[in-house]
Symmetry: C2
Subunit: 270 residues, 2 copies
C-alpha cells in the first residue's frame, strides 16, 4: 500500500520504521529537524502535509492537540485515503467523524510508549506484540477497517477493537490514573521528606516513574478525557477508602483480602 | 570482626554475601533449606541462633514479626555483641530497647529490595551505593554506632542516621504509600477493565509493580506502622484532591503547576 505518516515523533517514527519495509511509505513532520532525522534513518519524507496524498492510507500521529486540524486538512482533499490517527482520547475524533463525514476514519491507538519523545527514540521494537486499539468511527467502512487491521499486523502489533466511549473509559483507568497517582505520590512525598533522593528506593521509583511525563503532555491526557478521569479517580478512592479503613481499624483480614487480590492480579499480568 | 547474621533471606543473605570477605561471618536461619543454600554459597552456618554468639555483632534480618523475639533471645545471653536489626519499622524495636536495656542495639535498615524473597535471590550488588538508615536506640553507644557504620561501609552502602520516629514517618511516605497506591490502582483497574492484560501498558505496569509484594508482607508493612501510614495517606489525599479539582474544573494552570512540580521532582531523582 501507499502509506503516509503525519507526525514523526516517538509513535509516528516507530510506525514509519516498522512499516517502511512492506509498504511504499512517506513521512511528514511540521518540524524540519524531525524530517531530517527521519530522512537520515532512510524514511522518504515530504515537505508539506498534503504531499502525503494521494495514498491508500495516512496515519496521523501528531500530538493530541494537532490531530483534528490534521485530519481536517487531509479530509478536505477527498483523496479516498483511509485516515487513521493514534489519538489517545477518542471522543473528539469520534465527534469530528460524525459531523464531518466523507473520508473513512479509523482510530488506531498503540498501547506502547517509553520515557522521552521525538524521532530520536523511535523504535519499531516498541510496537512488537503490543495491543493496538482499533476504534471505528461513524465513517469507518469494512474496507477501511481491513486496512487498519493490515497496518497493525505489519507493524507487529495485535489488533483489539473497541468503541470510542469504551476506549476512553479504559485508558482513563490504565493510563491517566497511573499518571495522576504517580504525580500525587511524588508531590506528597517531596512535601513530606526533605531528602527524597536519599530515601527513595526502587519501589518508590517504579511507582512514580510515569510522573516524569512532560507536564504539557500529562495535562492534555488528563484534561482531554476529564469526565472519564474523574470517574476513574472515584473508583480509585473507593478502594483507597477501604484500604485506609482497614489500616486505621487494624482489620488485618479485610486488609489482607485487598492486598491478596492486588498481588494475584498484578502477578498474573507478568 | 566476628559477625553473625540471623535470617538468611533476601536481605540477610545479601548482607552475609557482602560481608563475608572482610569479616569472620556466620549465618543462621530457622529454615534448614535456607541454611543449606547459604552453605552451598560458601557461608559458614550454625544450627542454632545462640551459636552465633559470642560475636562482635549480630545482624537480625528476619521477617518483621520475628525481630523482637530474636533480639530478646540474643540479648538475654549478655554476650556483649552489638545487636543490629534490619526491621523496616522502628517503633517496636525502639520501645523494646528502652524497656529491655542491656545489650547495645542499633537499627540498620538498608533501603534496597527487589521482587521475590529468599536466599536464592540474595545478591550483594543489591546493597551497593544504597542508603542504610542507621537508627540509634536508647541502648546505642558510640562504640556500637561505630560498628554499625563499619558494617554499612563494608557492605558497600551509604550510612544515613535518623531517629526512630523520623524513620517511620519517612518510610510510610516512600515505602508503604507506594505499596498502598499500587494495590489500590491494581484493584480499581481490574474492577473496571475486564481484559486488563490487553490494555495495561508499560506505565500501568511500572506504577503497579510493587503490588506483587506478597500480601502477608504488605500487610505487615502497612499495619506495623499504621499511624504513619494513615498520616501519609492523608497527605496523598490532599494532593489528589487538588489534582481532581483542577481536572473537574478544567483549571489548566492549576493542574499544570502540580504536574510540573511532579515531573521536575521525579526527573531529578533519576
Amino acid at each position: 500500500m501507499k502509506i503516509g505518516v503525519a507526525g514523526l515523533g516517538l509513535m509516528g517514527g516507530s510506525l514509519a520504521l516498522a512499516l517502511r519495509g512492506r509498504h511504499d511509505l512517506s513521512g511528514y513532520d511540521i518540524s524540519r529537524e524531525a524530517r531530517d532525522a527521519a530522512s537520515a534513518a532512510g524514511i522518504a519524507t515530504v515537505e508539506r502535509l498534503e504531499a502525503l496524498l494521494p495514498a491508500d492510507a495516512v496515519i496521523v500521529a501528531t500530538p493530541l492537540g494537532a490531530v483534528l486540524p490534521t485530519l481536517a486538512a487531509l479530509a478536505e482533499r477527498r483523496s479516498g485515503a483511509v485516515l487513521m490517527d493514534t489519538a489517545s482520547v477518542r471522543a473528539p475524533v469520534d465527534a469530528f467523524a460524525r459531523e464531518h463525514g466523507g473520508a473513512p476514519m479509523v482510530g488506531l491507538h498503540p498501547m506502547a510508549g517509553r520515557s522521552g519523545r521525538g524521532f530520536a527514540i523511535a523504535d519499531p521494537a516498541l510496537l512488537l506484540g503490543r495491543p493496538f486499539l482499533v476504534v471505528p468511527t461513524a465513517t469507518s467502512t469494512t474496507a477501511s477497517l481491513e486496512v487498519a487491521g493490515r497496518v497493525v499486523r505489519d507493524a507487529g502489533g495485535v489488533a483489539t477493537v473497541c468503541s470510542a466511549p469504551e476506549h476512553d473509559r479504559i485508558v482513563a483507568l490504565v493510563s491517566a490514573l497511573p499518571l495522576a497517582l504517580a504525580a500525587a505520590l511524588t508531590v506528597a512525598a517531596a512535601d513530606g521528606v526533605s531528602d527524597l533522593a536519599i530515601f527513595a528506593g526502587p519501589g518508590f521509583r517504579d511507582t512514580t516513574r510515569v510522573a516524569t511525563t512532560p507536564a504539557e503532555l500529562a495535562e492534555t491526557i488528563l484534561l482531554a478525557n476529564s469526565g472519564n478521569v474523574v470517574a476513574a479517580l472515584a473508583r480509585l478512592r473507593t478502594v483507597l477508602d477501604d484500604l485506609e479503613r482497614a489500616i486505621a481499624e487494624r482489620d488485618a483480614s479485610g486488609l489482607r483480602e485487598i492486598l491478596a487480590k492486588a498481588a494475584a492480579t498484578r502477578t498474573a499480568l507478568g
